[in-house]
């Protein structure tokens, strides 16, 4: 019950103020189509430099939680998901809004999000220390395989093409080797002075997530937001609570599926929401109502995508392996404060990690309260023309990258990586595995080199890296995730061909 000991830290004036700021700001930014939680958190990292690590993480955690929930606002009122995690919410949420039940849909969505989110954070609280103790048994070979696992799982499960996902992961791993070698001090791949010190993670994250979005907005040309915002009529909050709590099946399915999916590295909120929606539909006796504005659809999707948030941080905090792109960005936020997550995090920095986790718990409640209060108003941010949004994000990206080390080199790296990522995305590559490769590269290399030295002095490399049940378990997960993704890809390709043959 360590978390209770640090609960008071969340309520200091500065920490609570930052929690409020992150929650309200996250709700508004989450409601803005095109601003994903990952990009929002990446753009917020520079603002945490002057803060204490505890304060910075509270701000980032609150922003992460509420941007996921805030995405439901534009999903319901505009039929534009604020984030990929809210895709399933549009299916019934927007139909409810069209029927004049916009306020009810928003209230149901925020209440379900908070319940799912609370469950997810409790899972994080109780699971993380147990896993952290277990992770103490990990040696260099296991940590090496774990880093490779992080890249391959995201590379295969988060990408539309297995080969391109793995290739993006490799590009990220290669980018991580640029700069000076830690052991011999040799220069590696320094083709421009801007990268002589290696690629700094924060400008890279900003570039990889924000710049492609800016260029995508440019690509749309002189367009305004043509989506019609549905106005919301008043709806009693008590009735919304009764609605959510009365639909226990959808709520429990959404929460359980979201929490389980969150624990699996690489499987994001988008999948959690869609799987929960699909399973609720299959099990519900009112399955025919799904898609016609049924509250169960909103409850299942929203409870799932917020239940995923807490568990997605478990691999990050215990093994320093980010389970999702947003967790990778949070890792960047930890690293700039000199905190390296892993099994010893809870013993070395309990004053940082417990208030952070506790703030996510309180943040879920605040998110629900403020979501209910400002949801209707927050939808208006979707009226902001993409031109303004693109220019704002570009300005923030340049300033944010520069502020990391007061270096123009970081701005160049940010812009170059962002530009390259825009084109890579257009050819089927995904930013997530590249980011994971960039972040996990140093972990993989350090443990590979350390393991190689131990192996050379003892049993030899092959025996060291390929013996022991834990090594084999990790290798098996790597191989099966690749195999499963290839099988899924082949099956998806075969299905349209078979459909074409029958027609």
């Amino acid at each position: 019950m360590d978390f209770l000991f640090y609960m008071g830290d969340v309520f200091t004036p500065i920490n609570f103020g930052l929690l409020l700021l992150g929650t309200i700001g996250g709700l508004i930014l989450g409601a803005t189509p095109g601003l994903s939680p990952t990009m929002t958190v990446a753009l917020m990292i520079p603002f945490t430099f002057k803060l204490e690590p505890q304060q910075g993480l509270i701000l980032l955690g609150a922003a992460y939680t509420s941007t996921v929930a805030g995405g439901a606002v534009s999903a319901i009122l505009l039929k534009i998901p604020g984030a990929p995690a809210n895709i399933a919410t549009t299916l019934d949420g927007h139909t409810m809004a069209q029927k004049g039940q916009g306020a009810k849909a928003l209230q149901v969505s925020f209440i379900a999000s908070a319940i799912g989110g609370l469950f997810g954070v409790f899972l994080l609280i109780f699971l993380t220390p147990v896993l952290a103790n277990w992770a103490l048994a990990f040696g260099p070979s296991e940590l090496f395989w774990l880093a490779i696992l992080g890249v391959t799982v995201i590379g295969t499960l988060d990408s539309s093409s297995v080969v391109k996902g793995l290739l993006a992961g490799c590009i990220g791993l290669w980018l991580a080797t640029i700069g000076f070698d830690d052991i011999m001090g040799a220069q590696r791949f320094i083709f421009h002075p801007a990268v002589s010190g290696g690629i700094n993670v924060i400008p890279a994250l900003i570039g990889l997530f924000a710049i492609p979005q800016v260029i995508t907005m440019f690509a749309k040309g002189r367009k305004g937001t043509d989506a019609e915002i549905i106005t919301v009529k008043r709806h009693p909050i008590g009735a919304a609570f009764r609605e959510v709590l009365g639909r226990k099946r959808a709520l429990s399915i959404g929460t359980a599926i979201g929490a389980i999916i969150g624990l699996i590295p690489g499987v994001g909120g988008q999948i959690a929401g869609l799987v929960a929606y699909d399973q609720s539909k299959k099990i519900s006796p009112e399955s025919e109502k799904f898609g016609t504005g049924h509250p169960e659809g909103v409850i299942a999707a929203e409870s799932a995508n917020n239940a995923m948030v807490g568990p997605s941080l478990v691999p990050l905090l215990t093994l320093s392996i980010p389970g999702s792109p947003t967790a990778a960005v949070l890792l960047g936020g930890l690293l700039i404060h000199g905190i390296f997550p892993g099994p010893t995090l809870f013993t070395q920095y309990p004053q940082v990690v417990w208030p952070f986790i506790n703030s996510m718990l309180i943040g879920q409640i605040l998110m629900c309260v403020f979501g209910l209060l400002i949801a209707g108003w927050a939808a208006n941010v979707a009226r902001v023309p993409p031109a303004v949004m693109a220019a704002v994000v570009l300005g923030l990206a340049v300033f944010g990258s520069y502020s990391v080390q007061h270096s123009m080199g970081d701005v160049y790296v940010m812009m170059a990586l962002g530009l390259a990522m825009f084109f890579l995305e257009r050819f089927g590559f995904s930013a997530a595995p590249l980011v994971l490769g960039l972040i996990l590269g140093p972990i993989a290399e350090a443990n590979f080199m350390q393991g190689s030295m131990i192996a050379n002095a003892t049993v030899g490399k092959l025996a060291y890296f390929f013996t022991g049940w834990l090594n084999w378990l990790l290798i098996a997960i790597v191989v099966s995730s690749i195999g499963y993704s290839i099988w899924m890809e082949l099956r998806q390709r075969r299905t349209p061909q078979e459909e074409g043959a029958t027609t």
């Binding site: 520079p46 603002f47 430099f49 002057k50 539309s160 093409s161 080969v163 391109k164 793995l166 290739l167 490799c170 590009i171 791993l173 290669w174 080797t177 052991i183 011999m184 040799a186 590696r188 791949f189 710049i211 800016v214 260029i215 907005m217 440019f218 690509a219 749309k220 040309g221 002189r222 023309p385 993409p386 031109a387 303004v388 693109a390 220019a391 704002v392 570009l394 300005g395 923030l396 340049v398 300033f399 520069y402 502020s403 123009m408 701005v411 160049y412 812009m415 530009l419 084109f423 890579l424 257009r426 050819f427 089927g428 590559f429 590269g441 993989a444 290399e445 590979f448 080199m449 390709r493």
Partner: protein, 154 residues
């Protein structure tokens, strides 16, 4: 992939394959070899996957990625040019606040759907730019104490 821009895929994957092969070549030829053990491992996989992707593109078997259409390219080019000039030249040479003000206003003018002929539109654009710059100055100069390159007009 009849509807996919095959030429674009060939060019893009060809470029990635060239980078992959170069990285592998450098990894296996540079000294000290001890510093390149991990890059050798990574670059071998990188090169194989990149060549695989290139071969698929050449054979027309690329399944994902819609490429970039001509109209999208025409739309994005002016904004992209402004963004690149801003980040790679103007921010340093003119100073961050001056360059950001100019870039922000130009981008707004280029992509704002409001008609250019109305005075109201221009007043709105100036006000949005001024508001944004005030927030940026407050945040970065006031709150974060970020010292940016000397301003052109200072």
């Amino acid at each position: 992939m009849s509807d996919l821009p095959r030429t674009q895929h060939i060019a893009a994957s060809g470029l990635i394959a060239a980078i992959g092969i170069s990285v592998a070549y450098i990894s296996f030829t540079q000294e000290p070899a001890g510093a390149f053990v991990f890059p050798r491992l990574i670059s071998s996989v990188f090169a194989v996957l990149a060549i695989w992707t290139f071969a698929k593109a050449v054979l027309g078997r690329t399944k994902v990625g819609a490429g970039i259409s001509g109209s999208e390219m025409r739309n994005l080019l002016p904004g992209l040019m402004i963004a690149l000039i801003y980040a790679f030249w103007a921010a340093k040479e003119l100073g961050f606040y001056t360059a950001t003000t100019i870039a922000f206003f130009i981008l707004l003018t280029l992509y704002d759907p409001a008609p250019h002929g109305q005075a109201q539109t221009w007043i709105k654009r100036v006000l949005i730019t001024a508001g944004f710059m005030a927030v940026m100055y407050g945040l970065f100069a006031g709150l974060l104490n970020v010292f940016t390159p000397r301003e052109f007009f200072s």
